[in-house]
């Protein structure tokens, strides 16, 4: 996974001083100390807030849920926020343009969802909102995840010990498998968690680059078992989502790293996209492209434990989409996994002479098996990849449930969410 945190434009988290009652709940809740107050106002430090949303639900007033699109260089400092009687209005396109921010950039930031929690009661009337189905709690048998050991102000460093291509297409497809070693520094990560890499240097406004998050692709005991290292799956960004040429600062930095280089790392992040660890637990993995990183981690951990027999009747099921076979990360190693260990379903959308196939098509084909798993409390579902796939995947799962007479809206979906059995990570 590689959620880009844009360097130029951000959605700044602010508290509405007209509605806030200064109850201190947000400050007491914030896990990273981003919220503070004086006798007048409660305020959020833009450079500390990691958008974890922990403060949103407990706020009794709703004043906490306010956002302004601003160039990072113009983010409101807390010294200003402390003097406010009301929120500033949104900057106009003209004001943003004067700061060198294009309308496209603003639209891209504005389109990013900042809220993971959606109103559920109105689900019947509201348009289908796939993000609302994701769990915010881990499976009950997940291992304890450590988070935020190293923040943006105190990153740690890691050494690059590997950087190889991980597709059959060679470096042409530009997807890299990077291995980082932490040496003696504790950096415990679980499958499904992510870490942040801080590119060196400054952005166009002279501000340090912000970190970019990547899911780890290695299991908890290291890319190489017993070593303090992790691997990442990183695709070099050479064009944006609309296909226009652009150069991703962080992905190019990471893909160009040489063995022996040192990188600044923050994290770990994530405490719900975690795998179940109880016997007979099933894992259904649905991903595209570099969204395969956490799936590789989970699969590898189960593979390493296979000899113990602990997970004998637990199924692994993988739905994996890419443009072509050659661009599929880890295609080779994937093919050598035993069929009785993992049930692999691949979809290619750009194979010449073949109809386009997407992961949701595969889900429709396997609807009968998936419906059984949806109804099984031991089965856990993970979705990771481009944002665009999320809705299609969720609708396909809903259809799979419906075909078998399961009540998606009333029973299956709330159960998946409540029990930490459906996890979404899209970007």
């Amino acid at each position: 996974m590689d959620t880009e945190v844009r360097a130029e434009v951000i959605k700044q988290h602010l508290i509405d001083p007209e509605i806030c009652i200064r109850c201190n709940t947000c400050e007491a809740t914030c896990p990273v100390g981003a919220i503070t107050h004086d006798d007048r106002n409660y305020v959020v430090r833009a450079d500390v807030c990691n958008l974890c949303m922990a403060c949103i639900a407990p706020c009794p007033t709703g004043s906490i849920d306010n956002w302004r699109t601003v160039p990072r260089s113009l983010a409101y400092p807390i010294e200003d926020q402390l003097t406010w009687d009301e929120l500033p209005s949104e900057l106009t396109p003209e004001q943003l343009a004067a700061e060198g921010v294009s309308a496209d950039e603003v639209a891209a930031v504005a389109a990013e969802p900042v809220l993971a929690v959606m109103p559920e009661a109105a689900a019947g009337e509201a348009p289908f909102n796939s993000a609302a189905f994701g769990s915010t709690v881990p499976p009950w048998s997940a291992a304890h995840a450590y988070t935020n050991l190293f923040g943006p102000k105190s990153p740690t460093s890691a050494t690059v010990v590997g950087n190889v291509n991980c597709t059959e297409a060679g470096f042409h497809s530009q997807t890299h498998h990077i291995v980082l070693d932490f040496g003696p520094i504790p950096f415990p990560v679980l499958e499904g968690q992510s870490i942040g890499i801080v590119p060196p240097g400054v952005d166009g406004h002279g501000r340090p680059h912000v970190a970019r998050q990547y899911s780890v692709a290695s299991p908890r005991n290291g890319e190489r078992p017993g070593y303090n290292n992790v691997s990442l799956t990183v695709k070099r960004v050479t064009e944006d989502h609309q296909g226009r040429p652009t150069r991703g600062v962080a992905s190019n930095y990471v893909c160009d790293l040489k063995v022996g280089d040192t990188v600044q790392v923050i994290g770990p992040f994530g405490q719900s996209f975690l795998m179940p660890n109880h016997p007979k637990s099933h894992i259904v993995m649905i991903c595209t492209g570099t969204g395969s990183a956490p799936m590789r981690a989970m699969t590898e951990w189960r593979r390493r434990l296979r000899k113990t027999g602990k997970f004998e009747s637990g199924k692994l099921m993988l739905f994996f989409g890419a443009r072509s076979r050659e661009e599929l990360p880890y295609f080779g190693p994937l093919q050598s996994l035993p069929k009785d260990f993992i049930d692999i379903n691949l979809a290619f959308s750009r194979t010449p002479g073949q109809p386009k196939r997407y992961v949701q098509d595969l889900i429709h084909e396997r609807a009968a098996d998936l419906a059984r798993l949806l109804a099984d409390p031991n089965a856990h579902f993970y979705v990771c990849g481009l944002k665009a796939m999320e809705e299609g995947v969720l609708l396909a799962l809903r259809d799979a449930a419906g075909e078998k007479g399961l009540d998606w809206e009333g029973v299956v979906a709330p159960g998946l969410k409540r029990e930490g059995r459906l996890h979404l990570e899209t970007y």
């Binding site: 007209e18 509605i19 009652i21 200064r22 109850c23 201190n24 709940t25 007491a28 809740t29 006798d39 007048r40 949303m53 922990a54 403060c55 949103i56 639900a57 407990p58 009794p60 007033t61 709703g62 849920d65 009687d85 809220l115 929690v117 959606m118 109103p119 559920e120 009661a121 109105a122 915010t136 709690v137 009950w140 719900s272 409540r418």
Partner: protein, 474 residues
């Protein structure tokens, strides 16, 4: 941390492993439901209310919204996560490990603290039971019911402590919490303010602003307690309590907004004209404020109290935000200024800090209250109205402590008994004020519609629109 909702009593304290306690609570539960049916929100049994329920005590599970019939609300026992290493932060036991059980020598005092706190929770539900019949909107009705179910849950929180840690005495006290009734001549609630009537919605907003804020300060002081289960329980209750203060602060704010609007439309500050237009005049609002403020600051107890000193030194009850204070957290040999009456006049007197801890907490409360009144004044300022609300003097209308009985104007001038009688109607709500406000109280139950004396809120609950159907009538 997850709450086990498969149990009859949802909890995160492994209730299933403690059969004695489980039996005791399961016996208490039907009595609680009977109490709710008897003196809980009137005429509400079939309503489906859009309520918030916690599904775990971490931020993600904190707020789950759905339609619930109130007597089916999942009341239960939720404690903040334990910290095995937690140390006592103040008093003679400072630096020692927090207690997981009740030390014998503090048993009586702790029970008294818990019973006093517990008694306020059902009391306010009883005080507010008629308000549902005259709600100014569905939005407000929902907020009232949310406050009511959370007060009910706070009762559960205290009853858990009594039954788990205080044996037979605790079970008897738990039963008695359901037997006392607010305003009952024979068996009243323990504290004065909780036997006063909450006759109308302006009183309700003032009550949730001031009196529930007393709750916040008491809970915050108990959240410092060396008795760890009490600290963890009250820490979680504080998050719920914040909602009650929101209802109060935004409620009064919306009343002011509407009043200011009417004054501007009519270009008048004549109370009679404002009243005739169906809004509440600023004088009446100020008098309600004076009443609720003065009754509430009495709740902090006598200004000098050896009990307060004992509670602190023995680690039972800390100060508000103990952890943020920079002193020795033992307070021996330190002093604090309190007010007393000398020769008919107010005079400051320095007393040992430990004995003045009620006054310290009262002063913290006053500072917090004044800040919110300042935000109300912002509403008037924004509307171009010159009048400002003020909190009365600390010695105004006191019934408890060294200032009880002295006749004092809201500005802090000592007055004669005769002078008080002449002015009382200007300083405290009169029967005429109550009658006028009562005349405005009529239920408005159409989604999105609001009574004429109150402005709509700036936003709805849980990102729903203001006109959302917050209560469905069965």
């Amino acid at each position: 941390m997850a709450i086990d909702y498969s149990q009859k009593i949802p909890n995160n304290v492994n209730l299933a492993d403690d059969r004695t306690l489980q039996r005791a609570l399961e016996q208490w539960q039907p009595n609680f439901i009977n109490w709710w049916d008897d003196v809980g929100p009137e005429n509400s049994t079939n309503n489906e209310v859009y309520l918030r329920t916690a599904t775990s005590v971490d931020p993600q599970g904190w707020a789950h919204f759905d339609y619930v019939k109130m007597r089916d609300y999942r009341w239960g026992i939720f404690l903040n996560p334990a910290d095995a290493e937690r140390k006592i932060d103040f008093g003679d036991h400072k630096g020692e490990k927090a207690w997981q059980d009740v030390p014998g020598e503090h048993r009586a005092n702790l029970r008294r603290i818990i019973v006093t706190q517990g008694d306020t929770e059902p009391a306010s539900v009883e005080q507010q039971r008629h308000l549902g019949l005259t709600a100014p909107s569905l939005y407000d009705l929902r907020n009232l019911f949310q406050v009511n179910v959370e007060e009910g849950r706070h009762l559960w929180a205290m009853v858990y402590l009594l039954q788990k840690f205080f044996g037979r005495d605790g079970r008897e006290e738990a039963a008695a919490l359901l037997e006392r009734t607010s305003g009952d001549a024979n068996n009243p609630r323990i504290l004065g303010a909780f036997n006063e009537k909450t006759p109308d919605w302006l009183a309700f907003f003032m009550f949730t602003y001031f009196t529930d804020r007393d709750g916040k300060f008491q809970l915050a002081a108990l959240a410092e307690s060396a008795f760890d289960p009490l600290a963890r329980t009250t820490r979680f209750m504080l998050t719920e309590e914040a909602h009650h203060m929101f209802v109060g602060e935004s409620g009064v704010s919306r009343v002011l907004q509407r009043t200011a609007q009417v004054m501007n439309e009519l270009k008048t500050d004549d109370p009679a004209l404002v009243r005739a237009a169906g809004a509440i005049d600023l004088g009446t609002i100020q008098r309600y404020l004076n009443f609720h403020y003065s009754v509430t600051i009495d709740l902090f107890g006598a200004d000098q109290s050896s009990n307060a000193a004992t509670f602190y030194s023995s680690g039972l009850k800390g100060r508000y935000e103990e952890g943020k204070r920079v002193d020795d957290h033992v307070l021996k040999g330190q002093t604090y200024k309190v007010l007393e009456v000398q020769n008919g006049q107010l005079a400051e007197k320095e007393v040992p800090m430990l004995n003045a801890l009620n006054e310290v907490l009262r002063d913290d409360f006053i500072k917090d209250s004044v800040a919110g009144v300042g935000r109300w004044n912002k509403v008037l300022e924004k509307a171009g109205i010159a009048t400002r609300l003020v909190v009365p003097h600390k010695a105004f209308n006191r019934k408890i402590g060294a200032l009880a009985g002295i006749r004092m104007s809201p500005e802090g001038r000592v007055v004669s008994e005769e002078g008080w009688k002449q002015k009382e109607k200007e300083w405290l709500p009169s029967p005429g004020d109550f009658a006028f406000v009562a005349s405005l109280m009529r239920a408005v139950l159409e989604p999105g519609k609001f009574a004429a004396w109150i402005a709509p809120p700036a936003m709805g609950i849980n990102k729903n629109p203001v006109e959302f159907e917050y209560v469905r009538f069965g």
